[in-house]
Structures are given as structure tokens and as C-alpha cells.
């Protein structure tokens, strides 16, 4: 197995909500949103790691920690062996160049007052990617790379469709020749036929440029299609991680199973077959004790209410955080 390019260890992120005057009077501590509760994973060079989960599960927060938009409360992220939050690394802009991110909303991720040409030129110039004279040529190359016509250079973001804007965002990220790309719901806001265009482009670029991709999305079909490995997140914790095909064809954690069954299949004959998950996602303000999934889990036993399960190897190439994983998967 190749060495991981990025190692994430026991990452925690708590957002304090502030204390009400009542809290001050009674000395109660302020309320805290637990966005990440001990996420550990390795990103292996050249792979696509899919991250799935429902809204509020922490998948976007994880992405934003990796590019240092958020500083984790605990835990560490190592890139090429260096802690990216260490004091001497924090202002290191080389890291920004090597790890890039693309955002979900194609309407807000580009500066509305800068043309495509200016956006790309700025990236090239700030990181001194090319001598000044070669910049226009490189901008043209980048547009070609993401299949945009050359006259796109002189246009402002509002003159493009959603799919075209995401191409510009990809071009901006690629301008600094990164090794790792974080795609946070890159195509969620796009129509299916346009989604396919952008996903194809991303896969193709990955092959030609040898990129490592962290693909964060809620669309399970899409994640299955693009990923080599997949991590399923529930309430800020990874509940299952493993080889994409294995996980999607035979998920082991009861939450992964429920999530997969809930995704509406294109086959009308599947109607009514799925076992529906009861209840709602608990608020990250008051996390359930023990396994955070136990309140919705059909298989929950006493130990699930008291003890938090950790990720344990299960089947080949996979890890599952569930006390009853053996029983659940032998019954099924």
C-alpha cells in the first residue's frame, strides 16, 4: 500500500455558541456545537476518497479544516509528514498551492467583479507559477483544459451558466498545480446532464494530472461512481470506511445500510422494498451518549447506549464503528 499523502488524526471541532446571560449567572458553560468528533483518515496519493453523509454531519466542516478555513479544536492534520496547523506551517503558502478546494455554490465562489481571465491571472501571479510573459498563454491553456472557449476570458461570472462557473472554479484550482483537490459538493447545484459533464472532466483531469481527490457529496450514486474508497460520516464521526465497491454493494454499518436504501432507485420495481430509517438526525448540540446512531438504530443494544464504538477492521479493506457489526451482518 502506498504511503498516505495526508493523515488526519482524531480531529475535533467544537463551535461555541456563546453563553446567555442566564448561563453567566448560574455559571453554566456555554452551549457547544460538536461539528467533528474524532475523525481519523488517510488520504492516499492518487486516490479519490468519497465522503458521504447527511447535511450537518460534518463532511463540509472536515473539508474546510483540511484547507485551513477552520482550525480544529483538537487533533492534527499532517501533509507530507508536516502538521499543517503547527506554528511554523500556518503561514506557509506552499501548502495552499499544493492543496486546493472547489466549492458547492457556483454563484458565490467566484468574485462577481472579476473576469475569468483576471481570476486565473491572479492565481498564477500570486504564486509565481509562470514568468509574467507566459501568463496569458497559461490562462489560455487552463481554459482549454476545462473545455471553455477562449472568449470566456473577458467575461464576468454572471455571464456563465452554473456548469461553466464550476469549470472556472476547477481552472482556478488547477492554475496553481495542486496535488490534492478537495471537491465540496462540486456538482450538487447542477442539473444531472451538466453534472455528468463536470464529473467526466474531473475524472479525466485526475487521470492526466495524477491528482488526489477528496470528493465530498451527499449524492451516493455519484460518490460510488467517482470514488476508490468511501467514508460514511454520521454526526461528526466516521462510522464506516472502506473500498467503494465493497461498501456500496454490501454496507456493514446499519447507518450506511439505511442511507443506501433511502436513496431512491431508478427501478420502479424496487418500490416499497427499502427499510426506512425512523426519526431524525439528532442535534449536534446535544449528542446522544454512546453510539450517536443508537437512537435511530434497529439493532441497538444496551452497550450502544453507554459506550461509543471505535472504528475496527471488518471484512477486508474496511473499518466499521459498530458494537454489533458481526451479528447484524451474519443475520442479513
Amino acid at each position: 500500500m502506498t504511503a498516505p499523502v495526508m493523515e488526519i488524526r482524531d480531529l475535533h471541532l467544537r463551535f461555541p455558541l456563546g453563553r446567555s446571560p442566564g448561563d453567566f449567572l448560574t455559571g453554566r458553560p456555554g452551549r457547544v456545537v460538536n461539528a467533528l468528533n474524532g475523525v481519523s483518515l488517510d488520504l492516499i496519493r492518487g486516490e479519490t476518497l468519497g465522503v458521504v453523509g447527511e447535511s450537518g454531519c460534518g463532511k463540509s466542516t472536515l473539508a474546510r479544516c483540511i484547507v485551513r478555513l477552520y482550525k480544529p479544536s483538537d487533533g492534527e492534520i499532517r501533509f507530507d509528514g508536516n502538521d499543517i496547523f503547527a506554528a511554523d506551517q500556518r503561514s506557509d503558502r506552499v501548502y495552499n498551492r499544493r492543496v486546493q478546494m472547489m466549492f458547492q455554490d457556483p454563484y458565490s465562489s467566484l468574485n462577481p467583479r472579476m473576469t475569468t481571465g483576471q481570476i486565473l491571472t491572479e492565481a498564477l501571479r500570486v504564486h509565481e507559477m509562470r514568468p509574467e510573459a507566459d501568463i496569458p498563454g497559461r490562462v489560455a491553456e487552463l481554459l482549454e483544459l476545462v473545455r471553455l472557449p477562449q472568449d470566456a476570458q473577458h467575461k464576468l461570472p454572471h455571464e456563465f451558466s452554473g456548469g461553466q462557473r464550476q469549470r472556472i472554479a476547477i481552472a482556478r484550482a488547477l492554475a496553481v498545480e495542486p496535488e490534492v483537490l478537495i471537491a465540496d459538493e462540486l456538482v450538487s447545484a447542477l442539473d444531472v446532464s451538466v453534472q455528468a459533464q463536470v464529473v467526466n472532466l474531473l475524472l479525466e483531469l485526475q487521470d492526466t494530472l495524477g491528482l488526489t481527490i477528496l470528493f465530498v457529496a451527499h449524492d451516493l450514486r455519484l460518490v460510488r461512481h467517482v470514488s476508490n474508497r468511501v467514508a460514511v460520516i454520521y454526526l461528526g464521526r466516521i462510522v464506516e470506511i472502506g473500498d467503494s465497491e465493497t461498501l456500496f454493494s454490501a454496507p456493514s454499518h446499519p447507518y450506511s445500510q439505511a442511507l443506501l436504501q433511502a436513496a431512491p432507485s431508478l427501478n420502479p420495481d424496487d418500490r416499497g422494498r427499502a427499510v426506512k430509517l425512523e426519526g431524525e438526525l439528532p442535534s449536534p448540540l446535544n449528542m446522544p451518549s454512546g453510539c450517536p446512531f443508537h437512537v435511530r438504530c434497529r439493532h441497538a443494544t444496551d452497550i450502544c447506549k453507554s459506550t461509543r464504538p471505535t472504528l475496527q477492521p471488518f471484512k477486508e479493506q474496511g473499518e466499521v464503528a459498530c458494537h454489533n457489526v458481526e451479528e447484524i451482518n451474519t443475520h442479513a
Binding site: 447527511e54 465497491e245 431512491p264
Partner: protein, 330 residues
């Protein structure tokens, strides 16, 4: 398939909006019907006119543009109806739910008050009867401890629960038709499954027709009896869900289905329809899909194909429809 006579019959519906002096053909020649207990899906990408169709039926579109054609609702025509008479039908006989449950609920009023308001407007129940009915409705849509939650404000509910509240309000007056505009798009998959189940269950129990607008073919497959696929303001294919999804005949439907990564080798290139949908102010002369279509033939760029019956219950608007896998096309 359904022996029931239709309760809603849409016939040659056209909607035109005007912007900066130019006319936008938002809807052209839309015809379909919905029977009691039937769930009809309207599926298409953004800008295809699926939401405008709902808004034209219930009389919300005519404030912003011209609506012509016929929308027959139990023998009466809604298109030409006066606002006042229409208001008697909106909410009482035809109800609508929206994509974003937070913005369609008043944040300053309790859920109970909003439910009772609907009941007061559309029924002649007494005050205590209204209260009972409100509790009953919340109970019906699966909100636990309904009578206590009547006193809660919308922000105290989660996204899925809010959509349930919306459905309770919509159904309070016992409508015969529910217009659902992307009711689960803003929700997570596990919650989406719950809400779709609820809508189906209620349609069955209350013998209510449902017109479900969605962009997700999976939602159509799992909930609808019949489906109409829309492209650039027109219906391009229509028929029973099972048949349409199993053997799509219009090239656009085929493209839409193949764009969804299901049953494909991992990381293989996805099928993608080239190009983007045309702007409504610059529709091609012939078939609107012709410029993006792989099976485009000579007449496609000159004439516009009309929606016509090709086999039992199946309608397609295409000069050169995709052959069925059995090879017995036409």
C-alpha cells in the same frame, strides 16, 4: 390504467412571460390529466417549465404573464376564472406544497395558529372543532405529541418536520388534488424517503390526486404512477412510470436517464447530453432538443414534433424515437 375519470384536465396550456420587451415561451401546449388517487410526476431540469406548470394551474402564474389554454377542474375552467372564485378553489380543493418549508411558513405565528387559519378560511368548523382537527392533522402527518407541538413556532421544527407541517396545512381542508413542487429537494435522503412515503400514503388514504414536480428520476421511479418529461417548456414524453423508465423513447429522456450514474462500471465516463438547454427567448425553430440530439434527422430542425400516441398509453414528441430493446418499434 386508471379507470377513474380525471379530476384535473390540462389542455393546450401556454404560459408566456415578458422580460425587457421580449416574450419568453415558458410553457407551450401542455396537456395531461390527473385522476383521483393518481400520482403524476413532472420531471425535467431547471428551466424546463415544470414549476411554471404548477403555478399556471393554480393561478399564480397569471399575475406575471399570460396564461392561455384550458385547465378543467371538475367541469370548471380555472384559466378564465375570476380571482375571487379561484380563491375558493386554491387551498380548499387544490393545495400546494413548496420546496423550502421554512420560507412558506410564517415564522412569527405558531404552527397551530397557521393550521387553524387555513381551517377557518376553508371550512365552517367551530372553534373547538378546528382545534381538534388541527391536532388530528399533525397526528396524521406523523408529528409526535401533536397537541403540544401546536404551540410551537416553525423554527422549533427540523427541516423534515417542517415539511410535515406544510403538508398538514395543505391537507387541512381535505383537498382533492395536491400540487407538490420539489417537496423533498431540500431534505436529506433518509428524511426524503419518509416524506415521500407520507405523501403516497395520504394520497391513497384520502383518495387525492398528486402532481409531483421533481428533477430526480429516482423520486419519480419510487413514487409516481405516470410521468411527463418536460424540456424547454414542452412535454416531450409521457406514460406510465414503469414503461417510460424501462424503455424511454425520447432521446432526451434517454439522455437524462443515462446521466445518472447507476449500474455503470465505476469511474467510467458518464453519458452527458452535449450543450445546455436553450434560452426561452431563443428557442430553435424545430424541435427544441434537436441541437443537442444524437438521433436528430432532417425534419427535426424545421418542424416541431407534436406529442402523439405511439403505443398504448405512451406519448412521445419525436420524429425519430429511440427503438425499444425488443426491436418492435412502431
Amino acid at each position: 390504467m386508471d379507470e377513474n375519470t380525471p379530476i384535473l384536465q390540462v389542455d393546450g396550456l401556454n404560459t408566456t412571460f415578458y422580460r425587457n420587451g421580449s416574450a419568453l415561451a415558458a410553457l407551450r401546449d401542455i396537456s395531461f390529466s390527473v385522476a383521483r388517487g393518481e400520482v403524476l410526476g413532472l420531471v425535467g431540469e431547471s428551466g424546463s417549465g415544470k414549476s411554471v406548470t404548477l403555478r399556471s394551474i393554480i393561478g399564480l402564474a397569471r399575475r406575471y404573464g399570460d396564461v392561455t389554454g384550458a385547465v378543467r377542474w371538475q367541469g370548471r375552467d380555472l384559466v378564465g376564472m375570476a380571482d375571487r372564485a379561484l380563491r375558493q378553489i386554491q387551498g380548499r380543493e387544490i393545495a400546494m406544497i413548496f420546496q423550502e418549508p421554512m420560507t412558506s411558513l410564517n415564522p412569527l405565528l405558531t404552527v397551530g395558529l397557521q393550521l387553524e387559519e387555513t381551517l377557518r378560511a376553508h371550512t365552517d368548523l367551530s372553534r373547538t372543532a378546528r382545534r381538534d382537527r388541527a391536532t388530528e392533522m399533525l397526528d396524521l402527518v406523523g408529528i409526535p405529541s401533536a397537541s403540544q407541538r401546536l404551540k410551537d413556532y416553525p423554527h422549533q421544527f427540523s427541516g423534515g418536520m417542517r415539511q410535515r407541517v406544510m403538508i398538514a396545512i395543505a391537507l387541512a381542508a381535505n383537498p382533492k388534488l395536491l400540487l407538490a413542487d420539489e417537496p423533498t429537494t431540500a431534505l436529506d435522503v433518509t428524511i426524503q424517503a419518509q416524506i415521500l412515503d407520507l405523501i403516497l400514503q395520504l394520497a391513497q388514504d384520502l383518495d387525492m390526486g398528486v402532481l409531483m414536480v421533481t428533477h430526480d428520476l429516482g423520486v419519480v421511479a419510487q413514487t409516481c404512477d405516470n410521468v411527463a418529461v418536460m424540456y424547454a417548456g414542452r412535454i416531450v414524453e409521457q406514460g406510465p412510470v414503469r414503461d417510460v423508465l424501462r424503455e424511454p423513447r425520447h432521446p432526451y429522456t434517454v439522455g437524462l436517464m443515462r446521466s445518472v450514474p447507476e449500474n455503470l462500471p465505476p469511474r467510467s465516463p458518464l453519458y452527458s447530453i452535449p450543450g445546455v438547454p436553450p434560452g426561452l427567448d431563443a428557442l430553435p425553430v424545430g424541435c427544441a432538443f434537436a441541437p443537442r440530439c444524437a438521433s436528430c434527422i432532417a425534419p427535426c430542425s424545421q418542424d416541431r414534433p407534436t406529442l402523439s400516441l405511439i403505443t398504448e398509453g405512451r406519448q412521445v414528441a419525436c420524429f425519430n424515437p429511440i427503438a425499444t430493446s425488443q426491436g418492435n418499434a412502431a
